[in-house]
């Protein structure tokens, strides 16, 4: 591609090394998860994780579905709230706010993105859980988990949407205005479709974070192993389960926790695959 010059060759090697290292880390983690869960995968069938009567790992009963449903409910709930909120706030910042308040809002959202998850958990535990408790005891519940997760993934969606909307070429906006489109028609008909790839990427990142978030959810969701019947039921997520039990798990139990780690990764990978497929359908 380029004429071979020493500095170019050097740069090429440095860049390649960087690429190889990051790919290798991913592969190693995958390999590690597989090797740690291998013992149990060998003598337990995969179906058992779905069909065992309950999650009693010490008695050799490994039903992961309550954790799986807890993870999915919490993440989907959070996305349901955070996606419209995040996109709406980005639209507001880009098209409606005055330059000064736009800057202020953006800084605040960036700040929200920087809050450590344990602080979110702490705030949830002391403020949110008592509030939910007033609505319907016990307080530590799926709802509390969803709300905390919403706050945590909201900035990702808002900031990615913001970046995508800012990058929409000015010509589109002028053309839309010249065709007599109202502000909202321009946003819905032109700007959002043009920014779609970036928005979808933001949602995927956010979903990945929601699926894998451990500490904050662990602190507010109650951690009871059960399928939630209502928003006020306590739930336990896969990630929280690993964090809660890893300290004392041994043998098969420990290996099953690694299996649940694998499941989490599989979920996230499916998600980004889906996003790639969605992105391909864009007209941009």
């Amino acid at each position: 591609m380029f004429r071979s010059v020493f500095t170019d060759t050097l740069l090429r090697w440095v860049l390649q090394a960087g690429a190889v290292v990051s790919a290798l880390v991913m592969a190693m983690i995958m390999l590690f998860l597989l090797s740690e869960s291998w013992p149990v995968l060998q003598h337990l069938s995969l179906a058992q994780f779905l069909t065992d009567s309950s999650w009693h790992p010490l008695e050799g009963s490994y039903n992961l579905t309550p954790m799986l449903s807890g993870t999915l409910y919490a993440s989907m709930g959070a996305l349901l709230l955070a996606v419209p909120l995040g996109i709406a706030s980005a639209i507001f910042i880009v098209y409606y706010a005055s330059p000064r308040s736009a800057l202020l809002y953006r800084r605040l959202i960036e700040l929200l993105a920087g809050i450590p998850s344990v602080v979110f958990g702490f705030w949830g535990l002391t403020t949110l859980v008592p509030l939910v408790n007033q609505l319907h005891p016990p307080g530590a519940s799926l709802l509390a988990g969803i709300l905390v997760l919403t706050l945590m993934i909201l900035p990702t969606i808002a900031l990615m949407t913001y970046a995508a909307l800012i990058a929409v070429p000015d010509e589109y906006i002028r053309s839309a205005a010249a065709l007599g489109l109202s502000g909202w028609s321009m946003i819905r008909g032109v700007a959002l479709p043009a920014a779609r790839t970036g928005i979808v990427a933001g949602i995927v990142l956010a979903a990945g974070r929601a699926l894998g978030e451990t500490m904050a959810v662990l602190m507010v969701a109650g951690n009871v192993v059960q399928h939630a019947d209502s928003l006020f039921d306590p739930i336990r997520t896969l990630a929280a389960n690993i964090a809660l039990e890893m300290a004392y798990a041994m043998g098969d139990h420990r290996a099953v926790l690694f299996v649940s780690g694998l499941m989490l990764m599989l979920l996230v990978m499916t998600l980004s695959g889906l996003a790639g497929w969605l992105g391909k359908k864009s007209y941009a």
């Binding site: 010509e171 589109y172 010249a178 028609s185 043009a194 007209y283 941009a284």
Partner: protein, 287 residues
Amino acid sequence: MNTHDIEEIQRSVEKQHTFTLGPLQTGPACCDPQPIVQVKNFSLHYDNKTALDKVTLDIYRGCITALIGPSGCGKTSFLSAINRLTDLIPNCKVVGHIQVDGVDIYQSACDVQVLRQQIGMVFQKPTPFPLSIRRNIELPLREHGVTKRAEVEAVSEQVLRDVGLWHEVHDRLDSAALSLSGGQQQRLCIARALALKPKILLMDEPCSALDPIASGVVEDLIVGLQGRYTIVIVTHNLAQARRIANYAAFFWVKERAGHLIEFGHCRDIFETPVHQLTAAYVSGARG
């Protein structure tokens, strides 16, 4: 008669039917000018920079008026003042009047959306939206109240035929507009503007970003639209202005502000210019 001849005849028949705009607008011939846009003492300022200084000019119905002059002399500012696209520029201030069909467009009572429906605009760079070809035309139509599916499809087909794009895209209306070539994209943009049945078309160097062949196609199209629409076109291509325009307005920068130097019949501007600057510019001595 062999099959080749038959094809030839079919094609010519098809060609006769491609223009679905109907007869020429019943406007006056260009020798009997009737103003549709009247600009009176119009000035335009960005912050404290003056882009246009006291321009007074009539644009005649059904004619092509070319705006010529060097870069930065306010031609594009003038063009976008006619459909109030200048509203999008922060700190842009206007003084004076522009009347379209006798209505002052800078009065608060003027509905900008309706104004822009009546005055279409085509930009230098083709700007189809990143949507399907079909949706590019549908979007503005629906915005202006054409919502019946059959009607939308009929209008879409008609305008695509009028810009000569129908036979090129009719079997892939759902593919991306951005997958079209530059010339096709520009014709799609013109079709999109025509779909709203405008009275006036503003064109900001519509050919200058295109290759020579596509540029020729678009130029022929513009000539074909003459009489049906009032066209105001900014162009740096003097030969093009001379070929297609009925009237020409020459702008020049004086004391850092754009001024209208001379306006008149295109032929007069090019052959017997009154002003020295005009003579220097059109002969290529300056600018």
